[in-house]
């Protein structure tokens, strides 16, 4: 039964991927492409859809892991402050004229910011030789507020032209996607996803509590550290690739639990697939709804995601808190 559902799940994801590739303000017929259309497909559509897929997968999977590690079904990878730290670093880079690496400058500063903030959150969450979920959560919330405030301060005192781009980027703008960043970002995401999937039994045990996890033969603190590393890597890479895209990390694990159950061995890969498919769809909607204007994907995911999340909240068996 679950295998059938998983099959349907993957089929829907592949369909959405293809739909995002060929549909849009300009429809492309896969069986009769002109040279221009082939050019659009390969150098604009395909990298953009691949970027959407990668970001969605990273966020979906890291949401699934984080909700387990924190034992909190309302956790979202952004709650750790990684994305606001990345945004702040990117804005600082823009304001100080850091263009040394050309078009890669924003993603690079964002990734460095995200990595530094991950270390900072980890340091605050560390006590007695281990990471503690409550401390991580509170440290993340505190840093989130701090970085957002500094970011607002920067934006309000500056009139830099580049800031419009920075703001768009913060809301998850995929319009700049090209092939440049895909190899390095995919590498980080594959490592993160690999670690997360390899530790999925340990995650199941951690969800039952540290004591059961220990009793079942897992080194609790080592497992938690590995999972935090995987989350940080995936979130940092995704923010660097396309800015802050809300609701995927929060929502996808809930949808998957509802459809396929809570076992992390299914939950992690399925949340990744669902996240990728959802962001492809959101991006398609964002660029098709009022062309030539494009809506940032982050706003589209939030506008679709938030009401659906509230609907799920009404269903007792999905959110049992």
């Amino acid at each position: 039964m679950r295998t059938v559902r998983m099959g349907i799940f993957i089929a829907v994801a592949v369909l959405l991927f293809l739909l995002a590739l060929f549909a849009g303000p300009r429809m492309i017929n896969p069986f009769g492409m002109s040279t221009t259309e082939r050019e659009i497909l390969l150098s604009i559509r395909l990298p953009r859809v691949v970027v959407a897929m990668l970001i969605g997968m990273a966020l979906g999977a890291s949401g699934a892991v984080l909700q387990g590690v924190l034992r909190n079904p309302l956790a979202d990878p952004y709650i750790l402050g990684i994305s606001s730290g990345a945004s702040l670093a990117a804005a600082l880079g823009l304001l100080t004229g850091f263009y040394a690496f050309g078009s890669v400058s924003i993603p690079l500063t964002a990734f460095i910011g995200a990595a530094l903030v991950s270390l900072l959150v980890g340091a605050f969450g560390w006590k007695r030789g281990g990471l503690w979920p409550e401390r991580l959560l509170l440290a993340g919330i505190g840093l989130n507020f701090l970085f957002s405030a500094v970011l607002m301060l920067l934006l309000s005192v500056s009139s830099d032209e580049g800031l419009r781009r920075a703001i768009l980027w913060m809301f998850g703008d995929l319009s700049m996607a090209d092939w440049t960043l895909i190899p390095s970002a995919s590498l980080f995401m594959v490592i993160g996803l690999g670690v997360a999937f390899a530790r999925s039994r340990a995650l199941n045990a951690l969800i039952l509590g540290d004591e059961f996890a220990h009793s079942l033969g897992f080194a609790v603190q080592r497992e938690r550290l590995m999972m935090f590393g995987a989350i940080a890597l995936m979130t940092a890479a995704s923010v660097a690739l396309g800015g802050t895209i809300g609701f995927i990390g929060l929502l996808m694990p809930h949808i998957v639990r509802f459809l396929l159950g809570a076992d992390s061995r299914v939950l992690i890969p399925a949340s990744a697939v669902a996240g990728g498919a959802f962001l492809c769809l959101a991006d398609l909607i964002g660029r098709s709804i009022m062309p030539p204007l494009e809506l940032p994907s982050g706003t589209v995911t939030a506008i679709i995601g938030a009401p659906y999340f509230l609907y799920l909240l009404r269903r007792k068996d999905v959110l049992s808190i």
Partner: protein, 258 residues
């Protein structure tokens, strides 16, 4: 395990424990558990019962002294190997994620590469939840959830069970069934059990009890010898009488309260 060895299976030698910056919770504690022994751990709230079990489980490291399992220091075992020999059942079970009963019980097999002894469905049947195997644990009552975790513990198959108040929230029927189940396993497989208890009347059924006060052993031995009025007064700070019922069983009486 090695048949030549006849000493204690689990042993605490002069174990002390304190959280950094706090007073001693467990003070120079020594006791040992023999093969097939059933020990009831009694003491007032905050007396250190849970800390003692966590030390014995290797979840906390003693600041002084040692914990030994099968005559080897506990911390020298690989985690998975330890999990096959020693199982800990925590006092608080809070799961807010919709795992099914079958999924949770199946986690008891995680330490094993090749599933041993019993199937998931057999373990579920042993706690009487056959008709709820596919149900989300989040939709079960407190007592039913406890039985799910008991089934997980059973399938884990360890020879030493450290159980922190496993009878809490259980109806009297399931308290009795669970104790009988453990007794059966003791007879069949020679498992050893240390169980933190709240109900002194249940402790009278054990062959051996340990009365804990302020992190050290106030008395240890047969229930008749240890659970006496004066020692209970010292451990629990309340006067109770130990009486004998018509069928000869001991029970505590506190007279009319209300």
């Amino acid at each position: 395990m090695s048949s030549a060895y006849s000493g204690p299976i689990l042993e605490l030698r002069g174990a002390s424990f304190r959280y950094p910056g706090e007073g001693m919770i467990v003070q120079d504690l020594s006791f040992s558990v023999a093969n097939g022994e059933f020990i009831g751990l009694l003491g007032a709230n905050g007396s250190g019962k849970s800390t003692i079990l966590k030390l014995a489980a290797g979840m906390l490291k003693p600041s002084k002294g040692q914990v030994r399992l099968w005559d080897k220091p506990l911390h020298t075992y690989r985690n998975k190997d330890r999990a096959k020999l020693l199982c800990y059942f925590p006092q608080h079970l809070d799961v807010n994620v919709p795992f099914t009963v079958r999924e949770i019980v199946g986690m008891g097999l995680y330490p094993y590469d090749i599933p041993p002894h019993m199937t998931v469905d057999e373990a579920i049947a042993m706690v009487g939840l056959e008709d709820k195997a596919g149900t989300y644990v989040t939709n079960l009552s407190g007592g039913e959830r406890r039985r799910v975790f008991i089934a997980m513990t059973l399938i884990q198959g360890a020879g030493v069970l450290l159980l922190d108040e496993p009878l809490a929230n259980l109806d009297i029927k399931y308290q009795i069934e669970f104790l009988r189940l453990l007794r059966g396993l003791q007879k069949q497989k020679g498992i050893s059990v240390i169980m933190a208890l709240h109900d002194i009347n249940i402790a009278f059924q054990f062959e051996k009890v340990m009365l804990i006060n302020d992190g050290s052993v106030l008395g240890s031995g047969s229930p008749e010898g240890v659970l006496t009025g004066p020692l209970l007064k010292e451990a629990f700070d309340v006067a109770v009488d130990v009486e004998r019922s018509a069928n000869g069983a001991l029970y505590i009486s506190h007279g009319t309260i209300l």
